[in-house]
């Protein structure tokens, strides 16, 4: 059975059908990309998967459990974490602290442990620090451990967002345009990094406009246009799909018509 199964999901914003009757699935260990023109509803799908928005209709099953309309924290616990199209780091916190916030749910002590510095407090704080360092090492972030997130170079901020998502203990990572604003060399590095995540056993859904990234790392691709899934398949199938080409080329005509 698929790790994530989305059936007939719709999201309506007033009169606007941002997502309509969308079906897709993601298997364990896959990298699946969602592509589509601006305003197609890609980010909205991430917001539905992570509980930021409630679905208007439809069902989302993750790891055998229905998660649509569940609370955000519940979904993080279930094992889905994400990054944001517009970077949303904790800018006034250090890199290591950002990652430790990701460990929040697994840092299990209460206010009394904190005040009296009980062994439990020490155990979990120690664990959070060590694990955060591990994650930062795996990213090659040694020199940035003390840096405030807001002061990191742009590309590193995107990576830190991924690190923070990993820290939640997620099985499924949702990456919203991680290569946005990167130069070709940076996006090449990012590509390697994402493939590395796959080797570590993460399942990934990627929203990306950079076709060189999408075509190179996706196992499968879904194409969204005006809130509808218009195609899906292997990268080479999508590259030659007439509807996809039209959706992208037709975009400028739509804009003119708007």
């Amino acid at each position: 059975m698929a790790l994530l199964e989305v059936s007939n999901v719709s999201k309506q914003f007033g009169g606007l059908a941002a997502v309509s009757n969308v079906d897709f699935h993601v298997n364990q260990g896959e990298i699946v990309s969602i592509i589509g023109p601006n305003g197609a509803g890609k980010t909205t799908i991430f917001n539905l998967l992570t509980g930021v928005y409630d679905v208007t209709e439809g069902k989302i099953v993750f790891d055998g459990k229905e998660i649509q309309n569940k609370k955000v924290q519940h979904i993080v616990n279930a094992g889905i974490a994400r990054t944001f199209q517009n970077i949303r780091l904790f800018k006034n916190m250090r890199t290591i602290e950002n990652v430790m916030v990701g460990f929040h749910q697994n840092t299990r002590y209460n206010i009394f442990d904190l005040i009296f510095r009980t062994p439990r407090f020490r155990k979990y704080e120690k664990e959070a620090h060590i694990k955060a360092l591990e994650v930062l090492h795996s990213l090659g972030f040694e020199k940035y451990i003390h840096t405030y997130a807001g002061n990191l170079p742009y590309g590193e901020q995107r990576k830190l967002e991924i690190a923070r998502a990993i820290a939640t203990g997620a099985k499924l990572l949702l990456l919203d345009e991680p290569a946005a604003g990167m130069n070709p060399q940076e996006s090449e590095e990012l590509l390697e990094f994402i493939l590395g995540l796959k080797d570590q056993g993460f399942t990934i859904i990627l929203i990306e406009h950079d076709m060189s990234v999408v075509m190179n790392i996706s196992d499968r691709i879904y194409v969204l246009d005006h809130g509808k899934m218009i195609a899906d398949g292997l990268p080479e199938e999508i590259a030659s799909n007439q509807m996809v080409i039209e959706a992208y080329l037709g975009k400028s005509e739509d804009d003119a018509a708007d």
Binding site: V76, N92, H104, T107, I115, E125, K126, H129, L133, E142
Partner: protein, 331 residues
């Protein structure tokens, strides 16, 4: 806390311990004790405003609740100060918690206005619930704290040291909060609540917890103040007090523990120092705040630190694993 911080704290503490030995006048003792209490009030509001970024303009209300709870229990039942103080803490904390339930979702201006309104309500209740609070007469001759038959007063410096001990406890508590998952969660909420919730931080729970801790701490300050001054009435807790507490947090530097002490020292002693310019002292005072807002929005000691992150002592790192600038050495 790194070495430099530790030295600063220890030197400051030592200085404050020996200070009364030089023979402080009653007046100076009172001013310094007041600075201690306002430092503590600053520390308490710092949790909500400094770490979490929510503004409260009604902190004096919880300060008042602590003072009246402790003062009345002492008046009616003659209970020991420590006991009445704990009751003051609990009462302020419970009311703070109840207050936080309907206001969890509010922030910014809305929360500022609601908290200000709450401050006024508490004042009105104090004035009008005469059977309990003696109305405008206030609480008179509140007993000085007594331990084992030994009364703390200004002659034996007892009140000074009592306030100092409470201040030390408050500072330790705030350091513990700052360097924990609670502190990190509050700062994460301040920076980006949505991202924080997507990291699994239970926003509403933490907002209420911060508010409860903060108001309970304010209640403690109230109890201390009531027994220190021996007299309180509704005017001891008017909106000027709330404004002063918020000013201490902003001036000292949001999120900075040292900043609260500095802020209280400056803002509480200023009106005293500036007595000679009489009515104009509030002009000077206001001017300072405006200049701060324009030129140093982080407050004097707030904002990002230039020094490396300090790992807790119990986290033993392998040598060279993390090095100095970007990289703190050894363990």
């Amino acid at each position: 806390m790194d070495k430099r911080d530790k030295i600063i704290w220890l030197v400051l503490l030592a200085a404050l311990i020996v200070l009364p030995a030089v023979g402080l006048s009653r007046y100076l003792q009172r001013v310094i004790s007041l600075i201690f209490i306002y430092s503590m009030l600053g520390l308490s509001l710092n949790i909500v405003t400094g770490y979490m970024g929510q503004i409260s303009l009604g902190h004096a209300a919880f300060y008042a609740i602590g003072a009246y709870t402790s003062g009345l229990l002492s008046e009616h039942f003659g209970l020991n100060f420590l006991l009445t103080c704990v009751c003051g803490i609990i009462m302020a904390g419970i009311i703070g918690w109840l207050f936080s339930i309907p206001t969890t979702k509010l922030s910014g201006t809305y929360l500022a206005i609601i908290t200000m309104g709450f401050g006024e309500i508490v004042k009105v209740v104090i004035v009008n619930w005469e059977s309990l609070t003696h109305g405008t007469y206030g609480l008179q001759r509140i007993a000085k704290p007594e331990f084992f038959g030994f009364q703390l007063n200004t002659t034996n410096n007892g009140l000074y040291y009592l306030c100092l001990i409470f201040l030390v406890i408050f500072v330790l508590l705030c350091i513990a909060i700052e360097r924990s998952k609670l502190g990190r969660s509050l700062r994460a909420i301040k920076d980006d609540p949505l991202a924080a919730s997507l990291m699994g931080v239970e926003i509403n729970h933490y907002k209420r917890m911060a508010f409860t801790i903060s108001t309970a701490m304010a209640g403690c300050c109230g109890a201390l103040y009531a027994h220190l001054s021996g007299y309180v009435d509704a005017n001891s807790f008017n909106s000027d007090v709330s404004t002063l507490i918020l000013s201490i947090v902003i001036f000292g530097g949001m999120g900075s523990i040292k900043g609260m002490l500095l802020g209280a020292a400056v803002l509480v002693s200023f009106p005293e120092v500036l007595r000679f310019v009489a009515v104009y002292r509030f002009v000077v005072y206001g001017l300072i705040l405006i200049v701060m807002m324009v030129f140093r929005t982080d407050g004097i000691l707030g904002g990002p630190s230039k020094r490396p992150y300090v790992f807790p002592r119990f986290v033993k790192l392998e040598k060279g694993e993390v090095t100095k600038n970007g990289t703190a050495g050894g363990k």
